[in-house]
């Protein structure tokens, strides 16, 4: 007999038994130990048919192919740039993937992206933990201009974006800021008024703190509505 030992959406801790029996399958952040399913992270239980997974509340970013991330240029070389994407090792953005313009061989690459610049890039290859290739060819991929950079834990990114971008759309509508969110938890935002930027940052921090609660979009709407008058 298989049965669940916790309720759906319950908070579990590492080592907590979630289900018993072989009918359930371990998903993300869940391992099987004999006939038990055990959580490996602090997170919320989520069920999808027979698949049991834990939605982690915090954790390091794991680079995946196809992720759109924001990174900081930390190295300029002859053949490309080194970019910090919030992973222990720097990722590589090569000249051929950086631009469709013609860049002469041996050109000074710091004219394009210099140390400290932030870029929105796509991960095109993760060949090993130390070799991550980036590309800037694609819609929305660009060098990020002046603005503010925030960092949130990467498991909170889906909540900040919301279903079909509902949450981030809300922030953009109410504050008029331009906001870009990377899968790695880096957020870039820029607005015409510092007060509006501060409100957007406060809103993002609020989502980060309450990401595990339900009905957040509605509450954010009320929050932004009440704060808007102060602008």
């Amino acid at each position: 007999m298989s049965k669940l030992l916790v309720n759906e959406k319950e908070i579990v801790v590492p080592g907590q038994e979630i289900a018993e029996g072989i009918d359930f399958l371990p998903g993300d952040d869940v391992i099987r130990d004999k006939d038990k399913l055990v959580s490996t992270k602090l997170g919320m239980v989520s069920l999808n048919g027979r698949l049991v997974r834990v939605v982690a509340l915090n954790g390091p970013y794991l680079p995946k192919r196809g992720d759109l991330v924001i990174g900081k240029v930390v190295g300029v070389g002859l053949g490309g740039w080194r970019v910090n994407i919030g992973w222990p090792f720097e990722a590589n953005l090569s000249v051929k993937d950086a631009s469709s313009d013609f860049i002469e061989k041996g050109a000074d690459l710091s004219k394009y992206f210099n140390y400290g610049d932030y870029v929105m890039v796509e991960i095109i290859n993760v060949s090993s933990f130390k070799l991550i290739d980036l590309s800037m060819k694609g819609p929305g991929l660009r060098k990020l201009g002046s603005g503010r950079i925030l960092r949130v834990p990467s498991p909170k990114v889906p909540r900040i974006i919301g279903k079909q971008g509902s949450m981030i759309g809300l922030i953009k509508d109410y504050t008029g800021c331009k906001v870009s969110v990377g899968q790695n938890g880096f957020i870039w935002l820029s607005g015409d008024d510092p007060k509006k930027e501060v409100l957007a940052i406060k809103a993002i921090e609020k989502i980060e703190a309450e990401s595990h609660t339900s009905g957040l979009t509605d509450r954010m709407k009320t929050y932004l509505e009440s704060e808007k008058n102060g602008l």
Partner: protein, 234 residues
């Protein structure tokens, strides 16, 4: 003199009052405070990040690095000389070994997860408090773990097997034996066992059973502290 009553009036199998809190260092990836009696440990987790010198990197798995430190004002009056010493080096090492069996860093090869444990106030059982705090901080940081680690000291004072010795009991006249233990309760693994003093085989058996019971209680407190951080009061 027979040891009929403990110096602080506790039962022989009773822990000192325990308090635990998660998220005490907002700038760290994960952090926790663990207080048992007068001993207070604060742990902060940073990383995974690149490990230097590169020769220490492990290309198949991440490395866990603990650092134990007693603060200068933490002791019973004498100033603790700051900086690493032989004792803190040893405790850092045993803390790593106590946590390593449950921590899975295979997804972060070549990197290091740093755990800094600071003892703000010390009154015996510091390595145990440090391990409890570190386990909670790692869980809070979202590092994959097979279980939490709970840790407590047991020992023999005046011929009686007692749980969670205080400093006065450690210094009790005659022989006081002190055993630091850590358990992964779910898997039943003993991850730390350090004995200081003589003990018979039967007494050791009895002491370890007592320690396991104590760790089960501590694990409940650790679990509750992690859950309450996210508004789950159960």
């Amino acid at each position: 003199m027979a040891y009929d009553k403990r110096l602080d009036g506790r039962k022989f199998d009773e822990l000192r009052p325990v308090e635990a809190k998660v998220g005490v260092v907002p700038r760290a990836v994960g952090s926790a405070m663990f207080k048992i009696g007068k001993t207070i440990a604060v742990a902060a987790v940073h990383g995974p990040r690149e490990l230097y010198p590169a020769a220490f990197q492990n290309p198949t798995s991440g490395v866990l690095r603990c650092n134990y430190n007693m603060m200068a004002f933490s002791g019973s009056g004498d100033r603790v000389r700051p900086g690493p010493n032989r004792r803190s080096k040893e405790i850092s090492m045993v803390m790593e070994k106590a946590l390593m069996p449950v921590v899975d860093l295979s997804a972060y090869p070549g990197s290091v997860v740093d755990v800094f444990v600071e003892l703000i106030q010390t009154d015996a059982g510091t390595r145990c408090a440090g391990i409890c705090a570190a386990a909670m901080a790692l869980a809070h940081a979202g590092i994959p773990m097979k279980d939490l680690v709970s840790s407590v000291a047991v020992g023999r004072v005046g011929g009686k097997i007692v749980l969670d010795l205080s400093k006065e009991e450690e210094d009790y006249e005659g022989h006081a034996t002190d055993i630091a233990t850590a358990f992964s309760i779910r898997t039943g693994q003993v991850t730390l066992l350090q004995m200081d003093g003589p003990l018979t085989r039967e007494e050791l058996k009895k002491a370890l059973e007592l320690a396991k019971k104590g760790c089960e209680d501590i694990k409940k407190i650790q679990t509750a502290a992690l859950k309450i951080k996210y508004g789950d009061s159960k």
